[in-house]
């Protein structure tokens, strides 16, 4: 493809938004592959969708409420069990501030 929809700079910007570190090779490949996918996706523009209501869900429903009753949830220790680092009470992460 002569003209790519996405260039390396855009790929770097999206990677930053997505919190992904890409190698230099990955950036090139990503620019090429995503551009080719987006080029295909552009066929959506063949359709006039001016008055079409977007469909975000297969079953149209909104605001599913339930009573606010306290109930048993998973145990504190179980909730921490899969964490890479904890002090037994909290998740531990590298210093933020």
């Amino acid at each position: 493809m002569s003209h790519r929809i996405l260039d390396r700079d855009q790929v770097e910007h999206i990677a930053k938004l997505a919190r992904l570190r890409l190698t230099e090779d990955e950036k090139d490949l990503m620019a090429e592959q995503l551009s080719s996918i987006l080029d295909y996706v552009a066929k959506l523009n063949e359709l006039d969708t001016t008055d079409v209501d977007p469909m975000h869900h297969a079953v149209d429903r909104s605001n599913v409420f339930r009573d606010d009753n306290p109930h048993k949830s998973i145990d504190h220790n179980e909730a921490l069990a899969n964490a890479p680092q904890t002090d037994g009470t909290f998740f531990i992460v590298p210093r933020v501030i």
Binding site: I14, V41, F91
Partner: protein, 486 residues
């Protein structure tokens, strides 16, 4: 022996005492041990807990009698949470994740007495159509081990096809139950969106994900569908609707049912053997008194484009949770910095296809592109849904091919993501609309590879799919074959 038994055969042998539950599980485990290393259908084999549960049934006959699936072994796709059993999504980022709870569909199976024998391989986070995108190596198609089993539930379908499990659960976001079931020559059902709770199904694209059963006979598929379906307060998108007794309506005559043939599905270049299989099955249905009518689903060709915006968009949001903090893999960093930790963890934890889709989805949702891509795709999704609603004014169900190609060689399409996406062309529209779909095997092609067809139904009308598949298999005297493994 045990590898060939259906659920009802297993139940009847256990109840008659022809075999104990423990012997049954032991035999199956040794069969798995002999064959899994090559097929790679299972990522985890739960021998210890399976044998323990089997013993409980042997020690308590009443329990065995009461539970509809008492003592029946089952394989579970590794994106469904299983309490205290490692659940990886075939990703390095969840390599050591041990969920503290069961997915609702898994919990329902356990309550019905099913015994989990293992967790099955898949494309990482269910993103793929071949099971090649697994961090733990590809699954092989048991009918031709050089070929892909389809995906993303390739491990589940291959396990059932090769006799390493009588039945399994998979998940389907864009065809991930139907395609591998087709490629492995077994039955697979994607229920209507909302029929089965998604609680504990590790999210890929939440508006599309749906768990469903894979089995070798229509009866077995129906029994499983009955058990796992139903409203769940833990999933607000599950629907309050009574679950029909699918297993009890199977023999209902199909005369007078009207099946639509969507012409767009046959204008594609389709493998001639696949096309012939669909045509032959139509002839069989005609002899049963089923009527056929041509219908049009004009937006079929836009399904792939709409899906590959919507699903990655939802995935990019869902997968933001893998940050190395609460669970899963965390990469070491040179200096203690939170952003460094995020970037390294996600760079090393995710595979190439997952990264590609996160990138694609992030782009489609980013400022300036949201309307052009995500909203545009969501509008086209509505048009695809309207196509189906209109077609169903003229017919009760639809018949289509499952995919345009027979199983291809492992590695053949790995370098060309778009070519792989196009394999999903016939399964994606039903996923976007949320209607139920079933993959029904016909037998083997001249190349010894499975062929079959897809049935699609109206919202919450899985019943008609079961009735049609059952009548078809009965008419052709279908007898499920186990892929013989050397």
């Amino acid at each position: 022996m045990v590898e060939q038994w259906t659920i009802s055969e297993i139940r009847s042998k256990l109840l008659k005492g022809a075999i104990s539950a423990k012997e049954l599980i032991q035999e199956l485990l040794s069969y798995i041990e002999n064959h899994n290393s090559y097929i790679n259908a299972y990522l985890t084999i739960t021998a210890e807990s399976a044998l323990k549960e089997a013993e409980e049934f042997d020690n308590n006959r009443k329990l065995l009698e009461e539970k509809p699936l008492g003592g029946v072994p089952i394989a579970i796709k590794d994106c469904l949470c299983t309490r205290f059993i490692r659940t990886t999504c075939a990703s390095k980022i969840l390599e050591n994740f041990v969920p503290p709870y069961d997915a609702t569909c898994v919990e329902k199976l356990r309550k019905a007495g099913a015994i989990i024998v293992g967790k099955t391989n898949m494309d990482e986070f269910a993103m793929g159509s071949t099971t090649e995108h697994s961090a733990f190596g590809p699954t092989r198609n048991p009918w031709d081990t050089d070929r892909v089993p389809g995906g993303s539930s390739g491990g589940s379908a291959a396990a059932v096809a090769s006799g390493m499990a009588p039945c399994a659960l998979g998940t389907d976001t864009g065809g991930s139950i139907r395609l591998p079931s087709f490629y492995c020559g077994v039955l697979g059902l994607k229920p209507t969106y909302g029929r089965v709770s998604r609680y504990g199904l590790i999210a890929f694209a939440s508006s599309l994900d749906q768990a469903g059963p894979i089995a070798r006979t229509v009866e077995d598929l129906a029994i499983l569908a009955e058990v796992i379906s139903g409203y769940d307060p833990k999933d607000t998108t599950s629907v309050k609707k009574e679950v029909p007794r699918f297993s009890e309506i199977l023999g209902t005559p199909v005369k007078g049912i009207r099946i639509g043939i969507p012409k767009e599905y046959f204008q594609h270049s389709i493998d001639p053997e696949i096309e012939r299989a669909v045509e032959e099955s139509i002839k069989v249905f005609r002899t049963l008194g089923v009527d056929f009518v041509e219908v049009s689903l004009p937006h079929t060709d836009y399904g792939v484009a709409a899906y590959y915006i919507i699903a990655p968009a939802e995935a990019s949001s869902n997968l933001a949770r893998y940050d190395g903090v609460k669970y899963g893999f965390r990469s070491p960093t040179e200096k203690p910095d939170l952003m460094e930790m995020y970037l390294n963890t996600r760079a090393k934890g995710f595979g190439a296809e997952v990264k590609r889709r996160i990138m694609l989805g992030t782009y489609a949702l980013s400022a300036g592109y949201y309307d052009a891509y995500y909203i545009k795709a969501s509008k086209v999704r509505r048009l695809i849904q309207q196509d189906f609603l209109k077609a169903f004014e003229k017919c009760d169900a639809l018949i289509t091919p499952v995919a345009p190609l027979q199983p291809f060689k492992i590695g053949e399409k790995l370098e060309d993501p778009l070519a792989l996406y196009l394999v999903d062309v016939f399964t994606l529209p039903a996923s976007l609309a949320g209607i139920p779909g079933m993959s029904v095997p016909c037998g083997l092609s001249s190349r010894g590879l499975p062929v079959g067809f897809q049935l699609l139904g109206k919202y919450f009308d899985e019943e008609i799919l079961f009735r049609l598949a059952y009548a078809y298999h009965r008419e052709i005297a279908y007898s499920p074959q186990i892929a013989i493994l050397s």
